[in-house]
């Protein structure tokens, strides 16, 4: 595949704009660009074909099965895209007078109301642009809360060792120290360790439930109670909400704030790595600290206001607004019955697929799972030398996106499988068959699996060289 720059020819271009219709302003030469601007020069026909080629080398969830654990790669419905593409949304300036953007404010207010109901929260901000950004914002809520009470000693955030890596990273960014809490044998929080860890320096606990091994922590009410008793707050990492939405609410489990990944649970597309949206919801006592501006409604008229003790802004304007539009379209589609049906479907699909694999692959926990399950290929690796990586890469040859690999860190040779509710039984059956076929292959000819994938546009990239001698841009033959 040629790069854009390799397709460039001097003087090529497109007639996109008319010539300037007023006298051209002359800047002082000292203000002008010196070096020539080496942007590619390509006619539209060749530009279009370039990206068609790139698209053919890209696998999206609308192309095929994508059981990437913890990422909730569910189908991205088209009606949501249509909703967000309307000029009445795309052509709004963020600083238009509020009376000219009542529909946009109603989108934000309605999405806030529905998502607060689903999470059991009282208020929400859509400013965070992604999950990690939401975590950061949620932690600032906790920080502001303790500060407002003069409780300066609460500098530590407790994070289970199975947590997503963003949790500790976000805590650091928010100015906290991280205390790691070990998991118990069932994959849940070790209550004794938690009891020992909490204290007057505890700012809060970050928790995903169901957790990263796909299990719902049945001790959840006790866990949040321990933290609350110690004066800390409880933060719910919403990455796995698709397992339980409509079944149980973070707010009712004792969580004080939560972030959601609209680009996972609420079906907005992930765009190859964003834009996402990571709104943060919280209980009433944290609302005064939410980012500014917030939306309020009175007598059917929407307006913006600044919470009295706001943390300020974590992003410009109102966040990734069009992503919220898509999520609202999805929320309206599913509604009261559809939301719990989605989580039930997600859990059913995960258990159904796990059931077909569990006699052949080792599960990290041999109990019923929630929306995802974690396999450990340690035994296979020991017996045959075929690793989780090898199996994952072989899946590519069958048009299946591999599960999340080597996560959570507490499971060796992990493959974390999340089918989501939008996959049909026959897709799951086919995938199960592929997993079993690969296992047979691994036992019969382990060497061949190290060569996988064999049918992809490229083979396994040399990642070590990439990191040691980074080439991060085209060099123009220099």
């Amino acid at each position: 595949m040629k790069l854009l720059f390799e397709r460039s020819r001097p003087g090529r271009g497109n007639d996109l704009l008319p010539p300037c219709d007023v006298p051209v302003t002359q800047f002082d030469p000292s203000l002008l660009r010196g070096a020539p601007l080496r942007l590619p020069e390509i006619a539209e026909v060749d530009l279009g074909r370039h990206y068609t080629e790139l698209a053919k080398q890209t696998h999206g969830v609308n192309d095929g099965f994508y059981p990437l654990g913890s990422c909730t790669m569910k189908y991205n419905p088209r009606v949501n895209e249509e909703a967000a593409a309307q000029p009445g949304f795309t052509q709004l300036h963020p600083l238009q007078p509020v009376e000219t953007v009542q529909g946009a404010l109603e989108v934000l207010a309605t999405a806030e109301r529905l998502l607060c109901e689903i999470t059991g929260m009282d208020g929400m901000s859509f400013q965070p642009a992604a999950g990690a950004h939401g975590e950061y914002t949620g932690l600032l809520l906790i920080r502001k809360y303790h500060q407002s009470r003069g409780d300066a000693a609460r500098t530590k955030i407790l994070v289970p060792d199975a947590a997503h890596g963003t949790n500790p990273a976000s805590a650091t960014m928010a100015g906290f120290q991280v205390v790691s809490i070990p998991s118990n044998q069932a994959g849940g929080v070790d209550l004794d360790a938690l009891r020992q860890a909490v204290g007057p320096d505890t700012a809060g606990l970050m928790l995903t439930n169901p957790n990263t091994v796909g299990l719902f922590d049945a001790n959840i009410l006790e866990i949040t109670q321990i933290v609350h008793d110690a004066g800390g707050l409880c933060y719910y990492d919403g990455a796995n909400l698709n397992a339980v939405m409509g079944q149980v609410r973070p707010g009712d489990m004792g969580f004080d704030c939560v972030h959601l990944n609209l680009h996972k649970t609420f079906s907005t597309p992930h765009g190859g790595g964003g834009p996402g949206s990571g709104p943060v919801g919280c209980k009433a006592m944290l609302e005064p600290f939410l980012p500014t501006p917030r939306v309020k409604e009175a007598d059917g008229v929407y307006s913006l206001f600044t919470p009295e003790q706001t943390m300020g802004q974590v992003r410009s304007f109102y966040g990734n607004f069009l992503v919220v539009v898509k999520a609202l379209s999805y929320l309206l589609t599913l509604g009261k019955e559809g939301i719990p049906a989605a989580s039930a479907g997600a859990v059913l699909n995960a258990n159904y697929l796990m059931k077909q694999l569990m006699d052949h692959y080792d599960m990290s926990y041999n109990t019923r799972c929630m929306h995802e399950f974690v396999m450990t290929l340690q035994g296979l690796a020991h017996d045959t030398g075929v690793t989780a990586m090898d199996v994952a890469k072989r899946l590519l040859d069958f048009g299946i996106h591999p599960p999340t690999m080597y996560f959570p860190l507490i499971v060796h040779e992990a493959l974390m499988v999340e089918p989501t509710e939008t996959e049909s039984p026959e897709t799951l059956d086919q995938a199960a068959q592929v997993f079993l076929d690969i296992l047979a292959e691994a036992k019969a000819d382990p060497e061949s699996l190290h060569q996988a994938p064999r049918c992809c546009p490229v083979g396994r990239p040399d990642e070590v060289t990439a990191a040691r001698s980074p080439i991060l841009r085209y060099s123009f033959g220099e």
């Binding site: 300037c20 529909g103 304007f317």
Partner: protein, 438 residues
């Protein structure tokens, strides 16, 4: 209602049976009974047609202005048709972050191309794959400059207020002291900067063109900051770089900015695109995803996410940042935009923006709107006094279908892009003339 679940009721029952259950409720029997949801207060689900009608009626409750003279951080430019065509391809739209390089070369290559273009545009050596927006890019850049003995930052007060707000939030959370420089005639005073630079100054953040459209005296600023051992972070409007001197040529250490003008619609504030480029020396401090070139076993060129040792899934609490999802599709949008425009096209956009703004400033001056920035050079925004209440004037303009400049401190911050034609400007001037009774 729809839930996008293909399985029928019968099929679901059969699946339940396969896992040894009889009802969906049993799937959740691990959840404490006390907190099981009994009644979810949500509206009934709707059919696709009803949803599309509802969403259309929400869109219709907003007003789209044909003529827009407001910028202030969000800019209306022409978006070539090829841009939307490319970025609406389902493969790009519905892929996850490209962890599996073998089936993600399309996304990876496009980011590598984006990185190259942003380096070229800003005159810097290394780019990441994007962050959430321009304001966050500025804040993250400040974190990049933190050293053990240099932690405080000096920030131009003439920067975008959204950016200033985010910088404050971010810095407060990490206890980074922030000094805001005063604004003098719509610009930063290098002498004021010189006065506050200290031995613990880690970085200076200046935006140029700044919030008021003025081109700052970057040479003086860079010289002062570097002289004091501080890094310089320059915020910049990427469109201006089609014509104006890029950050790299001023010698700054990091360039950041809001990439929205590069092919993204206004969209009521998002999705937008934060870009970050830096000198090679700071490469391993750069937050976020970065794509690198390498080869596969057959020697084919290919692309991967790289330098992951910086990232949270490996470094956890010691990571350089917590960013995972960024704005990849927006980065692709910018890349297609820049490729469609080419160097001459981008220069034409920049030149036309500036020329329109200067024409409008001249016409407004005739009506008594005097420039607050005096003789300082400006790009495509400028701030004027207003001979009447700015809010009232804007309200009058809105009645005539025009979104005027942004009322700012008793004056108005005007913006022109290539889309504000001479005819549109002359109409604006005529309407203002009427309103003023001239």
């Amino acid at each position: 209602m729809g839930s996008y679940i293909p399985a029928t009721g019968e099929e679901r029952q059969a699946m339940l049976q396969a896992i040894g259950l009889t009802s969906v409720e049993e799937l959740f029997d691990v959840v404490p009974e006390a907190v099981r949801v009994k009644n979810l207060d949500l509206p009934e689900g709707l059919s696709e047609w009803e949803v599309s009608q509802t969403m259309a009626s929400l869109a219709e409750k907003n007003r789209v202005f044909r003529s827009v003279f407001r910028g202030a951080g969000a800019y209306r430019h022409y978006i070539p048709s090829i841009v939307k065509t490319v970025t609406s391809k389902e493969e790009f739209l519905t892929a996850y972050t490209p962890y599996q390089a073998e089936i993600s070369q399309g996304v990876l290559q496009s980011i590598f191309e984006y990185q190259t273009q942003m380096c070229e545009l800003t005159g810097m050596e290394v780019s990441n794959a994007s962050v959430y927006d321009g304001a966050v890019a500025a804040a993250e850049a400040i974190f990049m400059c933190q050293e053990r003995k240099r932690t405080s930052v000096v920030v131009s007060g003439a920067a975008d207020p959204q950016t200033l707000a985010v910088i404050k939030t971010y810095c407060e959370s990490r206890d980074v002291p922030v000094t805001i420089l005063p604004v003098d005639g719509c610009a930063t005073d290098p002498a004021a900067l010189q006065a506050v630079l200290a031995g613990d100054t880690a970085a200076v953040y200046v935006q140029s063109p700044n919030y008021f459209g003025v081109l700052e005296d970057m040479d003086a600023i860079v010289s002062a900051a570097h002289g004091a051992g501080a890094k310089v972070i320059m915020g910049v409007n990427p469109i201006s770089l089609g014509l104006l001197k890029p950050p790299g040529e001023y010698g700054v250490d990091i360039a950041v900015g809001e990439g929205q003008p590069l092919g993204m619609p206004l969209s009521f504030g998002g999705p937008y695109l934060g870009f970050m480029t830096c000198k090679k020396a700071m490469m391993r401090k750069l937050p976020g995803r970065i794509v690198g070139q390498t080869t596969d076993a057959q020697g084919n060129r290919c692309f991967v996410l790289t330098l992951q040792a910086r990232e949270q899934h490996i470094r956890r609490e010691k990571a350089s940042s917590n960013i995972c999802s960024n704005e990849a599709l927006c980065a692709m949008t910018a890349s297609v935009y820049l490729a469609a425009m080419g160097p001459r096209g981008l220069r034409q956009v920049a030149e036309t923006c500036a020329s329109h703004a200067h024409y409008l400033a001249g016409e407004l001056a005739k009506l008594g709107f005097s420039l607050r920035s005096g003789e300082k050079p400006f790009f495509h925004e400028f701030c004027t006094d207003c001979p009447m209440d700015p809010a009232l004037l804007c309200a009058k303009l809105e009645e005539r279908g025009i979104l005027g400049g942004l009322p700012v401190d008793g004056g108005i911050l005007w913006c022109c892009t290539e889309l504000n034609t001479k005819a549109d400007m002359d109409q604006l001037i005529a309407v203002i003339g009427e309103v003023l009774g001239k």
